[in-house]
């Protein structure tokens, strides 16, 4: 119950912080810069769409450095950066977990295997502690923005006032549904009750997604403001502000990324519990959870580059200038760091899968092939890692003979990287395929033909990806260089989907080699799960820095200029330091949550401590 009270208290706290910016409070409490606006009309106290349409909005404030409150010893940008990032990490986690919990619960209902239900509940147990922290950090972020960037907050709150009340209501609804969903888990079991519980899970996800979409609207409005004139005067309704150009691409990207991130954090939880397991039963249990969490993380990771590509394409469509800022100049180097992180993600996920083959007696049939997958993965990683334009001294330029290396230079451009990333995805899928096959023997008569078809499919697909990249990338002009990416991606998707269908049919009714030895995993493999979680966390932080930085010296792109002392874009090293600091804080909090869930299940018998304890029980 403490947790409930803690979360309710946080909710009330957040509501109190939001209260001054609710529509009802606009009339009397709006600060001076907005006093002249029509929102002071008492008629706007209850915000409806028609009211908002008739409201006259103020232009974006023109601020000077003196307009930004400073607190001695506090760097405003770093403070907001860290709090916002921590809120986002926890928010992403608590929104993602119910998504796959819903699916796992449904699988449990369909298969009637209780272990799925127990696993889903255990995921929620971790998530519920994180929920309180998310709310606290959300409150802290609001507080930091109001305190350190009041004019920006007021400007956005004026435009979004119609949705802020809805946001608060949704937050209450989310909390209420979450607590009923979690605390009612063992009560709502069997028959119709289970269906009610599953419906609650669906509702929880719907409300959670809406909450995130509303929060995303603020962020994307700052990047691609809609319904504003050149002076920043808002002339639309709340929906117009929410449904800005980058809103949907961001929503798609964040939902997919949240799933991958959430899976990786649950994986780290399972690894933590596995390492501290006191018997084989616990080891087996947490090994199984770790495997499933890794599966979720990787399943969501595979489409993530496509969601990222969609976001970038839309970003270019919205503003070429923003797109070029993102992909060129100083930020071009960030994609080399990203390559290292994605490489770490893929390699650790694959390593974990390979270690997992040790659970099966039949894995020996595939072990010899793993080294080839490793070679391809590392080669693809190295290609992705190769920079395009190097910043060189004159002497280096001279010894290299130009800005590009004679042989490696060709690997620096996008077509080579497109080939590499598609190979990474396909070979990760092959790792998974081997893992799935390790313990199975197909019984269908056409197994040999099925294998031959799959080998042909993979060979043709890989050649197609390679040829598309080479032909369009190097033998056509610039405008077509990236045109190959779409057929390459489609090839990858066709290979994976076709292979998955063939596999499912081929291994239908297959024989098991022997029961899987859950728990027969090295401790080392568990650190791969931790590496996955850390790499995801750090990568999210880094990409958040880029996303935010491409606004350059604008609070709201091109309409509301940032004139604070921190208006400049920090360099990558500095950003990496802040992201690292944030990741350390996040990991400390996450490990604390894992520890809390560990002590939650411990029981200490205090003999002789309680007076008449035996009698009281009776």
């Amino acid at each position: 119950m403490k947790k409930v009270f803690g979360a309710l208290l946080s909710t009330v706290l957040v509501m109190l912080m939001l209260a001054p910016f609710m529509p009802a409070a606009n009339a009397s409490e709006r600060p001076a810069p907005f006093a002249s606006t029509a929102v002071s009309d008492a008629a706007t106290e209850v915000a409806t769409v028609s009211d908002i349409k008739t409201t006259t909005y103020p232009p974006a404030p023109k601020l000077s450095a003196a307009d930004y409150p400073r607190i001695k010893g506090v760097n405003s940008r770093v403070a907001v950066w860290l709090v916002a990032q921590l809120h986002l990490w926890f928010g992403a986690f608590v929104l993602a977990v119910p998504m796959f919990v819903f699916i796992i619960e449904a699988i449990g209902m369909a298969t009637r295997e209780e272990r799925y239900d127990s696993m889903a509940f255990e995921f929620m147990k971790v998530s519920i502690i994180a929920y309180s922290l998310t709310a606290l950090l959300g409150g802290l972020l609001t507080f930091a923005l109001v305190l350190l960037y009041p004019d920006l907050f007021n400007y956005l709150a004026t435009i979004f006032k119609g949705s802020m009340f809805v946001y608060a209501l949704l937050f209450f609804a989310e909390s209420a549904i979450l607590y009923i969903y979690y605390y009612g888990w063992h009560w709502l079991q069997g028959g119709n009750k289970k269906w009610v519980h599953l419906t609650l899970g669906l509702l929880l996800n719907a409300v959670g997604c809406l909450l995130m979409f509303l929060a995303n609207a603020w962020t994307t409005f700052m990047m691609s403001p809609a319904a504003v004139d050149v002076a920043g005067v808002f002339n639309g309704d709340t929906w117009g502000a929410i449904h800005n150009f980058l809103w949907n691409p961001m929503n798609v990207h964040r939902v997919v990324a949240n799933m991958a991130f959430g899976g990786s954090i649950i994986g780290a939880y399972a690894a933590f519990k596995f390492l501290g397991a006191r018997n084989n039963g616990e080891r087996a249990h947490y090994d199984w959870i770790g495997y499933n969490a890794n599966f979720i993380a990787i399943t969501a990771l595979l489409p993530l580059p496509f969601a990222g590509y969609y976001l970038t394409v839309e970003l270019y469509a919205y503003s070429q200038q923003m797109g070029i800022t993102l992909m060129g100049g100083v930020f071009a180097w960030i994609f080399i760091i990203q390559a290292v992180l994605i490489g770490a993600l893929f390699l650790s996920a694959n390593y974990y899968l390979w270690c997992g083959m040790g659970r099966s007696e039949g894995a020996y049939r595939y072990n010899s092939k793993i080294k080839y997958i490793a070679i391809v993965l590392i080669a693809a990683f190295m290609v992705w890692f190769t920079p395009h334009t190097l910043v060189l001294t004159n002497a280096e330029l001279k010894s290299l003979g130009g800005p590009y290396h004679e042989y490696l230079g060709v690997l620096g451009i996008m077509p080579a990287k497109n080939i590499a990333v598609n190979f990474l995805i396909i070979f990760t899928y092959i790792s998974f395929l081997f893992y799935r096959r390790a313990n199975k023997i197909p019984t269908v008569a056409w197994a040999t033909t099925g294998n031959a078809v799959q080998i042909a499919l993979f060979t043709a697909g890989l050649i197609n990806i390679m040829m598309l990249g080479i032909y369009y990338g190097y033998f056509t002009n610039t405008a077509y260089k990236v045109a190959s990416s779409i057929p390459q991606v489609l090839t990858t998707l066709i290979i994976i989907i076709s292979s998955a269908v063939i596999e499912a049919l081929m291994y239908k009714g297959s024989k098991e080699v022997a029961p899987l030895h859950w728990g027969r995993m090295s401790n080392r493999s568990q650190y791969a799960l931790f590496l996955l979680a850390i790499a995801f966390t750090w990568l999210m932080g880094l990409m958040g820095y880029v996303r935010s930085s491409i606004r350059q010296h604008w609070h709201v792109s091109n309409v509301f200029r940032d004139n604070s002392p921190d208006a400049y874009t920090p360099d990558l090293g500095y950003a990496a330091s802040i992201v690292s600091m944030g990741t350390i804080l996040f990991m400390v909090m996450v490990i604390f949550i894992f520890w809390l869930s560990a002590i939650n299940s411990r029981r200490t018998v205090a003999k002789g401590y309680w007076k008449n304890s035996h009698d009281q029980h009776h």
């Binding site: 933590f272 130009g402 800005p403 400049y568 330091s577 490990i591």
Partner: protein, 269 residues
């Protein structure tokens, strides 16, 4: 407890690795500082200086070269003076301009009035331009700056400069502090300005990345040299690779500077 210490230490090592690579594995480039607000004084400028101001605005504050370059993101503007008239007669033209000057103004403030085929927003069938209104977007050129850019485009685009120097209408115009000087007088000045000697041995400089030009006039004529400057990828000298020489000089050099340079190089025998 030992596990907490182990996983925390592991986390620190991994995070430290990412941090170290970002700080020491890649070059640290300081992003440009936000533009400083300065006042612009055009009272004392002559037309050459005004055109030079337009050129600077075109390349810097206007960010025009981000897209109007050889990469093909937006149409090249080197013949804008002559093609403007054709565009005004094009049935797809939706604007109200009647002169080149008006057309150039309109193309910067209402870029969708005419979209060059193949350069429209995807899916718009060339009816909508991806270019922002340069007065209102992050670029924020004021009226005087717009006129200066028109003067530059007319000058570099092969037509007569018809605009007159207008006074600034905004107190907060953001412009580069110093306007560029008039055209250079000697080939040595041109070589110094465009730093040809960084890559080529020429005019007493000893660059080695590009071909030696100290006796280039012996084997190459003026046409070849002009092309090599304006379109370096057209012919690559044997022993050198493509993509080395910037293809920006056609845009940056004034015609007079180009001819000075070509004459000078052709005379090196």
């Amino acid at each position: 407890m030992i596990n907490i210490i182990k996983v925390f230490t592991f986390s620190l090592v991994v995070i430290g690795g990412f941090w170290g690579f970002s700080n020491f594995g890649i070059p640290q480039i300081k992003p440009a500082l936000p533009p400083v607000e300065e006042k612009l004084d055009v009272d004392t400028m002559n037309m050459d200086e005004f055109i030079a101001l337009g050129s600077k605005l075109y390349k810097e504050k206007g960010n025009c070269t981000l897209c109007h370059n050889a990469m093909g993101r937006a149409p090249m503007l080197d013949r804008i003076g002559t093609v403007s008239i054709d565009r005004l007669k094009d049935p797809r033209y939706k604007g109200t301009a009647t002169t080149i000057e008006e057309y150039l103004y309109e193309s910067m403030t209402q870029p969708s009035a005419f979209v060059v085929s193949g350069y429209g927003k995807s899916g718009s069938n060339d009816t909508e331009s991806p270019m922002p209104d340069v007065t209102g977007s992050g670029i924020g050129l004021n009226e005087t700056e717009l006129v200066a850019v028109i003067a530059y485009l007319q000058d570099s685009g092969g037509t007569e400069v018809t605009v007159s120097i207008t006074k600034i209408d905004s107190q907060n115009a953001e412009v580069p502090a110093a306007a560029e000087a008039v055209s250079l007088r000697t080939a040595e000045e041109v070589i110094a300005k465009y730093t040809c000697g960084a890559c080529h041995a020429v005019a007493g400089q000893t660059g080695e990345i590009g071909p030696n030009l100290t006796k280039i006039g012996k084997t190459r004529n003026k046409e070849y040299l002009r092309q090599a400057i304006l379109d370096p990828e057209a012919i690559i000298a044997s022993g050198f690779t493509s993509g080395m020489m910037p293809n920006i000089y056609g845009e940056q050099m004034k015609a007079q500077e180009l001819e000075l340079l070509v004459d000078y190089l052709a005379s090196l025998k």
